[in-house]
């Protein structure tokens, strides 16, 4: 159980994963429903985040962004609301649900 904290929790350099409709969570417009496509994170951090509730395949909506690159307020799977770091959101890949009304 005892293990040192990784110095780095991301995988790869920070980048927006924009391929067609797929984008990173921090670039998702407000109140646009999307599905979590992938977590580009260290396995340990990804495991914890999945346990908290941000799992591949679940729905996610950005409710608001704190100013000056502060955290995002997101709703996950309709019943959970999270404050998450914008730096983290950069590594969460989402695909907007097409046809859904914003």
């Amino acid at each position: 159980m005892r293990s040192p904290t990784p110095v780095c929790w991301t995988r790869g350099p920070p980048q927006r994963y924009t391929r067609g409709a797929v984008t990173s969570l921090d670039a998702l417009p407000l109140h646009t429903p999307a599905l979590v496509a992938a977590l580009h994170l260290e396995p340990r951090e990804a495991t914890w985040l999945r346990a908290v509730g941000l799992v591949e395949g679940c729905s996610v909506t950005v409710l608001r962004r704190a100013p000056w690159s502060g955290p995002l307020h997101v709703r996950v799977a309709e019943r959970t609301e999270l404050a998450i770091d914008r730096a983290l959101a950069l590594h969460v890949e989402v695909s907007p649900i097409t046809g859904a009304r914003p």
């Binding site: 704190a66 307020h73 404050a83 998450i84």
Partner: protein, 627 residues
């Protein structure tokens, strides 16, 4: 009494574990609408028959029991207990506390717990909240699907205790085997959550309430403004509401002192009672109302769900200062007392941020500083308007916060630097109306604890100090002209000699031997400052009528007959109290959490060093300005 089973409450943070624990065991574990209230393992025995009892254990919340975790975090503490549980002699039962309004997430943890091979049962709590959202849980269906007992309950219903005890007794007899089947939690959650007739509207109604509040409280402009206004109002309330009450208790103190002197004369017995007991402990007791107001307000922030929102609001600022959003929780609770706040730093996931938070927590304005601030303001700023005094009091709170941020900014560049601190992830729970009974009990317990402290530690310290001000020391000192024999004895006492020996260091800051004795007396606990001054100036007061401590301080003279203290001294002393970590319990807590002597020593040295330097600066500047 023999223990027949250990029932460990496991569940996601904020699921309602501590509420159930309290309901079943009658304990008073802290409860709050925030994920991460409990940071320690709590235990309580519940008798189930004449000779048998069950031990209930309340753990910090965990999101998962598999994979790695930081052993120093709150989750780490819970996980360690669970690892050790398998080696116990007594039959162990895991009771998963599952928030019924977040069924799917809770069920994922259930599957992990099922794999542990310990007897498992599920307490689906907050069923009342689920019903308010327009749903009902099919406990039988869920129990059949999982193969473990399931109870749908609520910590606020009357029968909860009996139902939990019944099902745990049953579960203790079960032998669990790790299951081989896997379950689709999403489908299962859909199946066992049964919508009531008005499900859609009810769910929308509950959500709309939280959304409406968030629209204001998390608004980029209104949110911070409301937060600052709320904190300012709170600190001001501590001053304005409590001032008259404090004055009243002070008057009662005087009257009682006069009665004692009337009955016993002015011998040493009467001096011990009036100067030692009343002057020392009684003066501190007058600050009871402030401490209750502060505790209740902080409890309301906890219970409503605003605490998590505060984290969202200040994350950016705290990250700039080298801390993180989660540091907000210990920083805020340190305004009551730093000791539990240091433990609650376990909820900070990033080790660097956690350490730096612990190191700056002693700078937050804890309630033990209130008596000194109150005394200094009423004594030396009596001529100023009440708004000035209230403003000064509030400014002292923000000074603590400001110095804390500066210190963390410096530490952030030096201590445990990481290029990429762990990111903030925090659940924002729905708002709840605080329960009056719970809030009242928290306030009541703060009051009784304070009275008990005054009656024990502070009383003993005041009496010891009175004695040290009586036994002769190596140097005689120069008492004021026309001093009574008792005052001459005090000037030649052991305590006075020590205080005078420190004068070369403290004179630049404006502190004479009497204040030095106060500072030494408050080395271990800062609330002793006022008590100590109460004793010293109680002895020195030779008038017929015992005067309030404020008058005595204002009238205090130096050996040459000039006024001893003024506003410059008061400001200097305030700055000293803002910065110095005059609290043994805090240092012990830092030692416990960091598992080293290095950090408590560091805290002691840096806070006292900064306190001395800034006190000197303030005193010199204020004196030059003619204050």
């Amino acid at each position: 009494m023999t223990e027949t089973a250990i029932v460990t409450l496991v569940g996601r943070p904020n699921a309602g574990k501590s509420s159930l624990f309290n309901a079943v065991t009658g304990a008073h574990a802290k409860v709050g609408n925030f994920p991460g209230v409990t940071v320690d393992v709590l235990e309580a025995q519940v008798p189930i028959s004449e000779s048998e009892a069950v031990r209930f254990v309340d753990l910090p919340g965990v999101y998962t029991v598999e994979g790695d975790t930081d052993p120093e975090s709150d989750e780490g503490h819970a996980r360690r207990f669970l690892e050790e549980l398998t080696h116990h002699q007594t039959p162990a039962v895991i009771a998963q506390v599952l928030d019924a309004t977040q069924l799917e997430l809770g069920l994922r943890l259930t599957l992990e717990l099922r794999r542990r091979g310990l007897p498992l049962l599920v307490l689906a709590t907050q069923h009342d909240a689920l019903i308010a959202q327009g749903f009902e849980l099919d406990a039988t269906g869920l129990s059949e699907a999982l193969g473990v007992p399931v109870v749908a309950t609520s910590a606020r219903e009357a029968t909860v205790r009996a139902r939990v005890l019944e099902v745990t007794a049953e579960a203790a007899r079960l032998k669990a085997v790790p299951p081989t089947d896997s379950i689709d939690v999403e489908a299962l959650a859909k199946r066992v959550l049964q919508p009531r007739v008005d499900a859609k509207e009810a769910f929308a109604r509950v959500r709309a309430r939280t959304e409406r509040l968030d629209a204001v409280l998390l608004h980029p402009l209104l949110g911070p403004v409301f937060f600052l206004a709320f904190m300012t109002a709170l600190f001001a309330a501590v001053f304005f509401i409590a001032e008259p009450v404090t004055g009243l208790i002070d008057v009662l103190n005087q009257a009682l002192g006069a009665r004692i002197e009337g009955a016993l004369g002015t011998g040493w017995v009467s001096s011990l009672l009036v100067d030692g007991v009343l002057g020392g402990a009684g003066t501190v007791l007058a600050f009871l109302p402030q401490i209750v107001i502060l505790t209740v307000a902080l409890e309301l922030i906890d219970a409503s769900g605003y605490l998590a929102r505060g984290t969202f609001l200040v994350d950016r600022l705290l990250r700039f200062a080298g801390l993180g959003g989660r540091s907000f929780v210990p920083l805020l609770s340190a305004h009551a007392c730093a000791v539990p706040a240091i433990s609650s730093a376990r909820i900070i996931r990033d080790p660097g941020q956690r350490l730096r938070t612990i190191l700056v927590l002693p700078l937050m304005t804890c309630s033990a500083r209130i008596p000194t601030y109150g005394l200094l303001i009423t004594t030396f700023f009596a001529a100023k308007s009440v708004w000035f005094r209230g403003g000064l009091f509030v400014a002292l709170y923000f000074a603590g916060l400001g110095f804390g941020l500066i210190a963390s900014l410096v530490l952030g560049r030096t201590v445990k630097r990481t290029s990429q601190p762990l990111p903030l992830v925090l659940e924002l729970p729905p708002y709840r109306v605080p329960q009056v009974a719970v809030v009242a009990r928290v306030g009541w317990r703060a009051a009784t604890r304070f009275v008990r402290d005054v009656g024990s530690v502070i009383l003993i310290a005041a009496v010891v100090l009175w004695a040290l001000l009586t036994v002769p020391g190596p140097s005689a000192g120069t008492p004021p002209p026309e001093a009574t024999p008792r005052v001459v004895a005090m000037y030649g006492s052991l305590a006075a000699s020590v205080g005078r020996a420190l004068e070369p260091v403290t004179t630049p800051a404006g502190f004479d031997w009497r204040l030095n004795v106060g500072l030494i007396g408050s080395l271990g606990a800062r609330e002793l400052m006022v008590g100590t001054l109460g004793v010293i100036f109680g002895i020195e007061d030779t008038g017929d009528d015992p005067a309030p401590l404020a008058d005595r301080l204002r009238d205090a003279r130096r050996a040459d007959g000039t006024t001893a203290y003024g506003m410059a001294t008061a400001l200097s002393l305030m700055v000293f109290f803002v910065l110095a970590c005059q609290c043994i319990s805090t240092l012990a807590a830092v030692r416990r959490e960091t598992r080293s002597w290095r950090w408590p020593l560091f805290v002691f040295v840096y806070t006292y060093g900064a306190a001395w330097v800034l006190s000197v600066v303030v005193y010199q500047l204020a004196s030059a300005a003619g204050l």
